[in-house]
Structures are given as C-alpha cells and as structure tokens.
C-alpha cells in the first residue's frame, strides 16, 4: 500500500515562451504509515510535486499510482484511489464558504455520498481532532472565527473525508508560534492515533525535523536528498546549504558545541533530549 511516482515530469505553460519544467523525472514511493517531510527553497517544485499525489495535476509525462492503481485512468477505482488522499492547501481557510462550521466540514463527505448519521459522526470526530469544541463551534459562521480557528476548521474539512493519506502544504504558514505548535501537535496526534500516512510540505526545517521520520529535500525540480532527518542533518549539511534550506537551529547549536570539543550527539532533534545530552557531556567533561 503506497503512493508511487514514476518518472513524473510536469511543465507549466508548455509551448509558450514562459515554459518551465517545475519537476523533472521524479521517482518516489511513499509507504503507508510514513510521516514524510518535504522541504525545499521557494520554487523548488515541492508544491507541484504534492499536487500530483491526488491527481490535481496530471503529469506531462510519467505515472502516478496509488495502491497499485494508475490514478489517471478512467473509472471508479481510479477515482476512489484519488479520494483516498486528503489534501490541505496553503492558507486552507481561504476555501471556507458555508454558512456554518458544521456545513463546511460536511461538504466533503457529503460529496462522497456519506449519509446523515455517519456524517454527524465524522464532523464530530474531525472537530475533536483539530481541538475545537463541537457544541461551541458547529453552529457558528466560519467567517467570524479567528485565523487559527478558521485554519483548523478547514483542516477538519479534509480530515472528515477520512483519507488514508494526508497531504499538508505549509499548514502553519501565517500562524503565530502557539497556533503553529497546536496545529502540528494535532497532526502528530492524528498520525499516532490512526497510523495515517502524512506528507508535510514546509520550509521550516525545525518542524519537519521534529516530526517526520523521512525527509525529502527538493532542489530545482528534483529530489535532492531523501532519508532519515537525523542522517540528513548530520551528514549532508553542505548539500542542504546548496539547496537553500537551513539546518534547524538546534542542530546548528549542537554542531557548534561539538566543534568546541564537547562529546555530544549532534543528530538529536528533540530539545529536551538534546539538553540532557549536553548536560551529561558537560558533567563528564
């Protein structure tokens, strides 16, 4: 069970002077249960890449398979395969349109033909997952909520689709640090509680480093690095710089300690664990 991309190339504005290949010959397999972070500089092709995962963009050449099904074939199975991927866009609150929070979250599942009782259950679940109280919010109009709340309602609208794979494109953009932590905490909880596959696009290294168990670094439309975050941060710093992405501040600090001769593990991505590690090293030294 996986999403597979084979030799996928996508060209914008083809056959005009503005032609530009956004991604080139991408080969990628995302297995079920993974938490994949996709990072890259602006214009590196990361957003284009993830829009292929549920068939929103059709590759100029190459093939996309979800659970073994080519999603650009005609027919019911291909459509269902596409629907197993939930997609949260950048600034998802811009897509809210219904009169009440309940109705907006119910829009997706209703389109899939989900009936009233199940619908009710899904909306309640989705709201719970994004940490909003059903009784307090369900009847309210989404346009009077705060930015962070609107974003959560929008994410709930995708979670209510009950996707097997969840793709999030910069879900924390424009949120304050607290809102960001909350959103990421909820995504992490969802991943742990349901085993849902998550693909998280971000240019904030810190978040990705903390949560993802696999990291894909995009550069100039190609997959530049692919591996465990720890390995990438400790062994490929020069390449990261070349791709225009920053090493997380924590890793940077740990590296500086190490250069000063402190015997520590610079691949740690969790602040508490890193602090422990430094403490021990100082005691020893």
């Amino acid at each position: 069970m996986s999403i597979r991309l084979q030799d996928v190339t996508y060209t914008y504005m083809s056959k005009t002077p503005f032609e530009k290949a956004a991604i080139k010959k991408i080969n990628l397999e995302i297995k079920q249960g993974e938490f994949v972070g996709v990072i890259g500089h602006t214009g590196s092709g990361k957003s284009t890449l993830v829009q292929h995962l549920n068939g929103l963009l059709k590759p100029s050449s190459g093939m996309v398979q979800i659970d073994g099904q080519n999603i650009h074939e005609k027919g019911e199975t291909a459509r269902n395969a596409k629907r197993s991927v939930g997609m949260v866009f950048q600034y998802p609150e811009h897509q809210l349109f219904e009169e009440s929070v309940y109705e907006d979250i119910a829009f997706g599942p209703r389109n899939l033909g989900v009936m009233e009782e199940e619908l009710d259950r899904r909306v309640k679940n989705a709201l719970k997952f994004v940490g909003l109280d059903f009784d307090k919010f369900a009847k309210r109009t989404p346009f009077q909520l705060s930015g962070g709340q609107m974003r959560r309602v929008a994410i709930a609208g995708v979670i209510a689709l009950d996707p097997k794979y969840l793709v999030l494109d910069e879900p924390s953009a424009g949120l304050d640090p607290r809102g960001r932590d909350e959103i990421f905490g909820q995504i992490m909880n969802l991943h742990q509680a349901t085993g849902i596959t998550v693909v998280l696009v971000s240019h904030n290294m810190e978040d990705v480093a903390r949560m993802a168990n696999r990291l894909i670094v995009m550069n100039k439309g190609e997959i530049f690095l692919d591996g465990k975050p720890k390995e990438i941060f400790s062994h490929h710093q020069d390449q990261l710089k070349e791709a225009g992405v920053d090493v997380p501040p924590l890793t940077l600090l740990m590296n500086q300690f190490k250069q000063r001769g402190l015997d520590i593990d610079s691949s740690l991505t969790d602040i508490a664990a890193a602090a422990q590690n430094v403490y021990k090293a100082v005691r020893r030294g």
Partner: protein, 267 residues
C-alpha cells in the same frame, strides 16, 4: 490548468518594435489602420502586404501566433467575403438560386477581406510587442491633454493597470480554490446548467471574499504610501521619444506617402 492561459497576447522580445515607445506604437497603429483604407487596387494592397510582412519579421513574432490571432474572427472574415461576392451588382459569373456572384463582387469581397485581415494583424502586432502595463502607460500619456476638460486620465490608467495586474492573481486564486474544493469531492464539470451554477458556489464565495480582501489590502497599502491620485505625480520610468521613434514615424510617413501617390496616379 487555468493559470496556463496567456494574459493579453504579449510576446516578450527585444526587437526594435518591442523597444519603441508605446505612444509611438499606438499612434502609428491608428495612422496605419486608417491608411489601409487608402488602398483600392492590387498595387496598393501588395505594398501594404509587403510592409506588414516585413514588420512581422522585424518583430520576430512566429507566424503561427499571428494566425492564432485571426482564429476567433474567421467567421466574420468569411461572412464579409460572401456578402460582398453576392450583393455587389455587376457581371454575373455564377448563380445559386436567387443569389448571384459577380465579378465585381469577388474583387470587392477579396479587398474587404484583406483589409479586415490587415486590420486584425496590425492591431494584434501592437499587443504582441507591447506589454499591457506599457500600453496603459502610453494611453495615459496620450489622454493627458484631455485632463483639462475633466477626464481623469491617470485614474483610468491606474484602474486598468490594477485590473491587469490582478487578472493572473485572481486566476491563480481560482485555480487554487477549485483544486481545494475538487480535493473535497466538488464537481465543476458535470450536470445540467442549473446544477453546475449551484456547484459554483463553493468556488465563487471564497473567490469574492478574497477579491474584496485583496482590494482592501491594496487600498491600505497605497494609502500608507501616500497615494493621492495623479496630481503632480512623477514616474520612475518616464516614457521617452527617441531617435528610434522618429525613425518609425519617418518610415510610416513614407509608406503613407507612397499609398497616396499610388491612389492619385492610378486613377
């Protein structure tokens, strides 16, 4: 998708036509289009054709692009041809029922059609070689004298510039919202007209909200930078008439002169 469409038909390049001042291009286009009506025999038409072909070559616009600009109007072109062939009185060469094609009609129809094609090609050359922003700049400067009689030239140009500027942004936004709703199972393509109109609500509501939000933000940003309309406003890129432009007027003058001469002497 939606964002793949071209705005206007500007075809970036570095030819002398691209580098001309937009005012020169607008005035020349108007003059040249009027001079097309001076032509009434084969000699004059061939001069026009030769001139048009050479400026197309000069502008380095691919001929397929020129043909594409004719495409939306081909029905009108054919219709013009047929109406002239069948309604001009003269010596009959062919008869279909009550309709008679005449020799004069064929000649007249051909000339009219060529005129129409020239008209379209020349005006699309203007938009091919001038970016929309340069075009509005040129229009603003040309309308400047009319400010005295109360025409808000600057404001009109600013409105056009802003509208042009936001077409791609709104298209992008539409594309994004469409994708987002499609990812939630929305369907914009099937069903009858009523159903389709209703299916547009999830697209239109967010689109309007974002258009108003953008307008509001833009107004604030402009006010924050003390925008007060056109009064005594200076520009960063002042349009300038150079030798190149006088050269263009010169060439145009010669062509119009020749056309007038041909018209007088062929009578």
């Amino acid at each position: 998708m939606l964002t793949d469409i071209m705005l206007g038909q500007y075809f970036p390049g570095n030819s002398i036509l691209h580098l001309l001042d937009p005012r020169t291009k607008i005035i020349s286009t108007i003059l040249f289009i009027s001079s097309i009506f001076l032509a009434e025999n084969y000699q004059a038409y061939s001069i026009l054709a030769a001139f048009i072909v050479s400026i197309i070559a000069l502008a380095a616009i691919p001929p397929t692009m020129i043909l594409r600009s004719l495409k939306p109007l081909w029905i009108i072109i054919i219709l013009t041809l047929l109406i002239h062939i069948f309604t001009t009185p003269g010596s009959i060469i062919y008869k279909i029922g009550p309709l008679a094609a005449t020799q004069e009609g064929v000649r007249q129809g051909l000339f009219m059609t060529i005129r129409l094609v020239f008209l379209i090609v020349v005006s699309s050359l203007l938009t091919f070689t001038t970016s929309p922003i340069a075009l509005t700049d040129g229009i603003e400067r040309l309308l400047n004298p009319f400010k005295k009689i109360g025409l808000p030239a600057h404001e009109l140009a600013m409105m056009m510039t802003i509208a042009l500027r936001f077409i791609p942004t709104l298209l992008e936004e539409t594309d994004k919202i469409m994708k987002a709703q499609m990812a939630r199972g929305a369907d914009f393509t099937s069903g009858n007209i009523l159903r389709r109109a209703r299916n547009m609500i999830p697209l239109l509501v967010p689109l309007f909200i974002s258009a108003f939000r953008r307008a509001d933000e833009l107004a604030t940003a402009m006010e924050a930078r003390c925008y007060r309309g056109g009064h005594q406003r200076t520009r960063m890129k002042e349009l300038q008439i150079t030798t190149r432009d006088w050269l263009a007027y010169g060439v145009l003058g010669i062509i119009i002169g020749i056309l007038i001469a041909v018209r007088i002497y062929s009578k």
